[in-house]
Amino acid sequence: MENVNSKTVMQPQNSPGGNWRSRMRINVRQYTMIIALLLVWSIFTVLTKRIFISPRNLSNLFLQSATVAIIACTMVLVMVAGHIDLSVGSAVGFTGAVVATLITKAGWPTLLAIPVTLLLGLVIGLWQGYWVAYVGVPAFIVTLAGQLIMRGGLLGVTGGNTISPNSELFRQFGQGYLPQLFMKVAGFNDFSALIGILAIILYNVSAVRSRRGRIKHGFAVSSPRKQILIQVSMSVVIALVFAIMVFYHGIPYAILIVMAMVLIFSFVSQNMTFGRYVYAIGGNRDAAQLSGINVKKTNFLIFVLQGLAVAIAGIVYTSRLNAATGGAGSGMELDVIAACIIGGTSTMGGEGTVFGAIIGALVMASLDNGMSLMNLGVVYQYVVKGIVLLIAVAVDVSTRKKQ
């Protein structure tokens, strides 16, 4: 598509590529988030006499954060578009109870129960998305209603009892680890190590390809030395994350799901028109509308995706606990929202990243985990988490004012 309009308008002033600053798409706030996470980790490491930093504990911590992290991937979209979803806790409990009931009481095979549960999540998303996008009821109200409705549904399905799905396959989703491939050494999972190495290779290949692409288009790229530095340090980080799991039981399946979700939704939010629309709507709904964006459709789709993510989280959650109870997932929406906000998602909409939200989820899980290790009571856990959330938002608000 050649552009007649722009071709002859005005003389070019800059040479192609010019002196544009290098294209670093990483939010400054995310660096602070990573630093905050490392700070939390070092504090707990000292306070727990290094129990916290052991591969066993960190591996557990990842697993604990999985449910929140899965939902955070789509909650970011919801919040960036300027909405909120208060129903996810109940929805996790509800979908979890349904899948447990299907397997245990109805005797369905796991491989049938899971797609049906995902379908249920889709329906939840369609329902809430319809009210928010097409009727125009504020998401706060729609999802508050959803919270109540699904809490009722949850109690109805479980009948107030605890249901334990007795399926080995199902249990793998929340508790299983990647099996050993060749080696039979405890404390080193070769399959996971292989995946880790693969991840590092993939990362480096894509980094080099992206750089080549930019050079081909004549855009500025960072100096080879800087590029190597970035690639090496990122590779080390990836290696460390995988090492934690490799030297315990291996990568849990739940974490594989989290990784897939992060990759998918990072791509959706950064590289797809739909993701761009979400940011545009949250940043300035009127301008988005006037730019020809279908605001209703976009909002609808956001909630549909959210419903799907919630069902996935519900399956992982129920599988990890191997139980569906009446109180399952209660209060989880606040953990998810807090994770997004701590990870740099603006409370006003328009800003936020999936990656940041995952870091936020890890911060929240670390607080829980570390304080549990220290034998601090629930009282302190709530208070500390509350204060951390408050400070995170205060920082967000004050940096916004400066702009």
């Binding site: 552009n3 192609p16 010019g18 081909k216 855009f219 020809g292």
Partner: protein, 531 residues
């Protein structure tokens, strides 16, 4: 709402200091004297040594083009700009005024009624009139006393409504009367009305005029700001003309013919600020036939009334008119983003165009650049690249996946072509200057490759250099065969750039002039309702 709503009674600071020797007997009895007022904003002198006075019991009209300084002058008077933020002195009822805020001016007896009414729509008439000055004892409101008092003031302004009616259920004209009732209830001795009839019907206007005459008979003075010269001639006793922040002249209305007022308002010579290029118009591209649009808030009110015009290839069509004439509404309704009960026909290249949404219009090649850059134009927290490609996403990436490198390449091309000054295409647009922000929005619309481009106040709020750049861009686009429809409130701009000028007045098309026959006086005459 620009004014803090007065909900809490605060102790009153002594802002009115009596000066004994000022008033001279035998001379005209002035209720208000504003002497040598100068008000500067960064880079702009909004008011330059303006002296302005109002006699007791007169209706004094304040006229001038958009941006002449009328609103600024009234904001100084109302205390929106507190004492110390301007140079000059004000005397009111023989006392010097030094307002710290709007509450002080209210206390002194000055009431302003703005174009955008400052009523709480969900509250009743009664509550609104006495909002901030409730009949109360120890914080407990005496509703009966309020009701009786409200009924009385409503009588005074000829508003035959139950005081318990919610304001939201009233028409715009009635709401305005509630505002006036509020001012009357406060025993205001000086009433300021800013474009009071912009949204009123003829009967409502007539009623308002009568109320103002009644109030004048009771000794209430009034400053009447209006674009409508014919109305001013009807109601005012004296007229002051402002232009470019200066008071150009004050005279009795009988000495101020409509022609003289317009000449004074327009005043300055047209200098070569406008690069005119001769265009040769080709075939008709967009034709609008019998276009009628109703107000989405008041569906019975016609905002656009049976407007027909056509735009030809290779011409800049200017649309002139005063604020509230319906120019923006015309463009936005064609673009599918404003109004209800739209009737009429749109023809694009001779074929009927059915497009009820911006996305449909963009697809067909119609683009609209909004006058309100901040609200409708760009997304401040999004980077330049994201803003620039926002309207052409569907065209560029049909499978929904953005090619990041291609996106940057296209954006950088426009950044160069439009000479946008930015450190990078990943700069947040909110951090750019006004002129560059405007160019980003222009770039956004150019990227959609429009056949017809509506530019609504394309140079508002940007500096002279950037303005000329925008004009050059427009000229070059026209040479490439794009039709441009430019809405502007700046007459020199309309006259300097357009090939043909349409004039609108109260939702109707009242003039169609070629640039050769158009003069500022002619356009202003048509825009103010002259025939």
């Amino acid at each position: 709402m620009k004014f803090e709503s007065a909900c809490v009674r605060r102790p009153h600071r002594s802002s009115v200091r009596p000066i004994k020797t000022w008033k001279v007997k035998g001379m005209d009895d002035y209720i208000l004297e504003m002497n040598h007022i100068t008000k500067e904003f960064p880079g702009v002198k909004a008011l330059n040594d303006v002296s302005f006075n109002v006699k007791r019991g007169e209706i004094h009209a304040l006229v001038g083009e958009n941006g002449a300084g009328k609103s600024t002058l009234m904001k100084v008077l109302a205390g929106v700009y507190p004492f110390g933020s301007y140079i000059g002195a004000m005397m009111f009822n023989g006392a010097e005024l030094q307002f710290a805020g709007t509450r002080d001016s209210e206390k002194a007896g000055i009431s302003i009624i703005f174009q955008e009414l400052a009523l709480v729509k969900q509250m009743s008439i009664r509550e609104n009139i006495y909002l901030g000055s409730e009949f109360q004892k120890n914080g407990i409101i005496d509703w009966d006393a309020t009701f009786v008092a409200a009924s009385k003031v409503l009588d005074e302004v000829h508003l035959n409504r139950n005081p318990l009616t919610k304001v939201i259920d009233l028409g715009v004209g009635e709401q305005q009367l509630v505002e006036i009732a509020k001012a009357v209830s406060k025993k205001a001795s000086l009433l300021i009305l800013d474009e009071p009839t912009a949204a009123l019907t003829e009967t409502e206007t007539e009623n308002l005029m009568q109320i103002l005459r009644d109030l004048r008979a009771k000794g209430v003075s009034c400053i009447y700001i209006s674009h409508k010269i014919s109305e001013v001639a009807q109601i005012a006793d004296r007229v002051t003309v402002l232009r470019d922040g200066r008071a150009i002249g004050t005279d009795d209305v009988k000495n101020m013919t409509e022609e003289r007022m317009i000449r004074l308002m327009v005043g300055h010579e047209i200098t070569q600020r406008f690069p005119r290029v001769d265009h040769t118009p080709g075939e008709t591209v967009l034709e609008v036939r019998g276009w009628t649009v109703h107000d989405p808030d008041v569906p019975t009110r016609k905002v656009i009334d049976n407007v027909s015009f056509s735009v030809r290839k290779g011409e800049i069509l200017g649309i002139a008119g005063l604020m509230g004439a319906g120019r923006t509404e015309l463009a936005m309704s064609i673009f599918g983003s404003y109004g209800v009960g739209r009737t009429g026909e749109l023809l694009l290249n001779g074929k009927k165009m059915v497009a009820n949404s911006p996305s449909a219009c963009i697809e067909k090649g119609v683009a609209y650049l909004s006058e309100d850059r901040k609200r409708y134009g760009f997304i401040a927290m999004m980077d330049l690249r994201g803003n620039m490609t926002l309207a052409s996403m569907e065209k560029l990436w049909k499978n929904g996946i953005i090619d990041g490198n291609e996106e940057i390449r296209r954006t950088e091309q426009y950044v160069r072509d439009l000479s946008i000054k930015t450190p990078s295409v990943e700069q947040k647009v909110g951090n750019l200057s006004g002129g560059n922000q405007q160019k980003v929005v222009v770039g956004k619309w150019l990227m959609t490759q429009p056949k017809v481009l509506f530019l609504d106040e394309p140079t508002r709020g940007i500096d002279v250099g950037a303005k000329i750049e925008i004009y050059n861009i427009m000229n070059q686009l026209v040479e490439q065969g794009v039709c441009i429809v430019m809405i502007s409130s700046e007459l020199p701009e309309i006259l300097g750039i357009s090939d043909r000028i349409l004039v609108m007045h109260m939702g109707r098309l009242v003039g169609d002039l070629s640039w050769k026959e158009a003069t500022q006086e002619k356009v202003m005459y048509l825009a103010t309702g002259g025939r």
